[in-house]
Amino acid sequence: MEHPVAVTQASLLWLIPALPLAGFAVNALLGVRLQKAFGKWIVHTVAIASVAASFAVALVFLSEMLGLDAGHRHLQETLWNLFTAGRLSVDLAFALDPLSMTLVLVITGIGSLIHLFSVGYMAEDPAYWRFFCYLNLFVFAMLLLVMGDNFAVMFFGWEGVGLASYLLIAFWYSDPEKAKAGMKAFVVNRIGDFGFLLGMLLLFWALGGAWAPRPGIRAVEYQPASELRPLDPAIGAADADALAPRVAGVKVGPTLSFRELRDELTVEETGVKERLLHTTLFGMPVLALSAILLFVGAMGKSAQLPLYVWLPDAMAGPTPVSALIHAATMVTAGVYMVARLSFLFALSPSAMGWVALVGALSAAFAASIGFFQYDIKKVLAYSTISQLGFMFVGVGVGSYWAGTYHLVTHAFFKATLFLAAGSVILGCHHEQDMRRMGGLAKHMPLTRYTYLVACIAIAGFPVANGFYSKDEILFRAFTSDHLALFGVPTPWLGPAIYALGIVTAVGTSFYMFRSYFMTFTGSYRGGAHPHEHNEDPHAATAAPHGPLSASVHASDGAAHAAEGEHGGPGASPHESPWTVTSVLVVLAAGSVLTLLLGLPALWTGSAPAFERWLEPVVAQVTFRQAGEGTEWLFQLLGVAAAAGGLAAAWALYRGGQSEVPARLKARFAAAWTVVYNKYYVDELYALAVVRPVVRLSALLFWVDAHLIDGLVNLVGALGRWASLLSDLIDRFFVDWAVNAVAWLFRAAGRSLRRVQTGHIQTYLYGALGGALVVVLLNFLIR
């Protein structure tokens, strides 16, 4: 990457995001009428067709991209200029390189399947059109995020997916808990987004801002600022381009474009890299600072410690939403962003160490919560946080392809898991509590097998894709000695993260198979009392929800549960319709087949296909050399971890007969309660953040109600008094004067009208008198 990116101009890239936008527009504007006039089929036909068409267009561009040689795989299209300021020019531009191509395929491909799944899942919902309209809006925003060529377009998408996520979590908004969960997701995401914005602006500042040249970023002199004519209104994109000096064919100066930023940083002659490495802000290296701030955005969007709290509550949304947004695509936006900015993160060991550490801690923390959850969707939610943690370990230690590969494999197996869970929820008449399930294997064979395949994938057995990505991530974590924390080199951090990761892998395998065994083996417990299960003597005492933490257990679909063609809660479970099961089968097959992309070099002798695919896009980081034996050993350790977790789950939960879990729980009741209640993090937040904020707002309200309102009322009273006075003056002074003038004229008129007698002889006397006076005056004055 010592040379500028070779750009291949492409046209019609905009079709990919525009098609879902069109679907959104049709359903948003006409959906309710179409649904009434033609039925629900037209709504989902529009929605699915738009995403599927987008997928087809993406496939066309994939084939075009595969036809190019690796160095030229950067398709770009500029639609129009968004704004220009000095040297900075920001366009509405789309770019497809191997990284964004991968994400686009995942979003549109898995997105289409999940749209199809929703047909069966949402069939009974009256607001059918609204659901598909939001879903299309989400796909549009996500494609904008992924395909945006610069920070600005990415940020539009970044906020857009947040909006869509909020709308879909609070889809059944008449339930206050769900509306609250939506708000929680939105607010927590806003905190992260603020970090993202700060990081972006800090980076922009460090690059020199729009006008002020900063000494240092130069191999040639900047033009003097006076020649920039910053206030010239006629300045356009071409002028901005002309003002920026070019070094070695690379535009040097402030930019929001990923490609230009990467060129500036990777082409040494520009001097931008040295400049950035040596710039500090309040004593902190600006590069690490902006990378970490950008990562704060990723922490919010991708639900990492400590901003993960919204994701479990986000399960209040319909299950397809959980699968698409909160497992397969949106939550991976942070991972994508770090991989997209790999050239930036790779320059700062501190940022890398920070990303990897947060990822590893989130992975372990969330997995431990997952152990004791009963809500099947909650288990998957914590599992998602945990797997996202693995992805951040991957992109954190610098194995960008492995992190992205885990993103892809996770998209498949977690979508399968969520949709299978959705199928189970549908089959069990909107029951989400695993204690009321069990024995579903014989009722829902297809769902069961697809869930099993996905469990095998996530646990990390080499027969499915999860093993290949997780193993590569953990191995790379172990062999990385270049990480640092806050500027201090920490060669031990990599192995420590590996240790945490492998323990988490055991836990992952355990809680996933626990959920599998609880759901599909043993005998069906639905309709019976939930407390008969072997693990639940203290359930009633163990769920004290904080006043501000949304509790959304077992409530998915409550709005339309137990009605229509479904029987009451006592009815037996049934397999889901074909739109549901066919999607499950396709996704499960994908969970297996995508392993081909990541077959390790150790087995095949050549680098994994996916690594070669991403190689031109991401920064290359050198790892400590490790022998083949070590690598084999680590693969064995990975399988052993998965097998260990499986064995534990098998022993404790298979068939739901074992008494051991209940005994263990009684023995460690205190620890169990703490973990079951998610370490009371929600309560802690309520205490430390939410309550002070509420107090502050109460104080501000008091100030508003008493001080501000008092002032306003005082001003109002003063105004009233002034107007009273003015009224008096008006009535008794101005009116009097006006009336006096009128009286005067009336009196004058009255007296003067006497003169007009109408008698011709009176007039004659007047004339004679006048003539006489004139004659007399004539004598007198002379």
């Binding site: 007009q756 109408g758 008698h759 011709i760 002889q761 004659l764």
Partner: protein, 104 residues
């Protein structure tokens, strides 16, 4: 010896005619009487025109003017009598004191 008739004599006659006409106009209640007063005033003026022409000399302007005034007086009498006739038709009276329609 007989007294020579001078300009002053004519002017006195004219002034007398004028004064009598004025008094007639100012005091008569009968509208026809008022019109007759107007004739007296005009003729008082005519005496002056003719006397001045006779004594001041030079051209015939005064005589011509007197003729014009006579014609004018005829026209004025016609119009005046028409007004008196109209007045009588509306108010069954030709008393100018009664005719105060101009007041409003």
């Amino acid at each position: 010896m007989p007294m020579a008739v001078t300009l002053a004599h004519y002017l006195v006659v004219g002034a007398l005619l004028f004064a009598l006409g004025l008094v007639t106009v100012a005091t008569r209640r009968n509208a026809v009487g008022v019109l007759m007063g107007v004739e007296l005033i005009l003729n008082g003026a005519n005496v002056n025109f003719v006397a001045f022409q006779r004594y001041a000399g030079g051209g015939v302007g005064g005589y011509v003017f007197a003729l014009f005034v006579i014609v004018l007086a005829a026209a004025e009498a016609a119009v005046g009598l028409a007004i008196v006739l109209a007045l009588f038709q509306t108010s069954k009276s030709i008393d100018v004191r009664q005719a105060d329609l101009l007041r409003e």
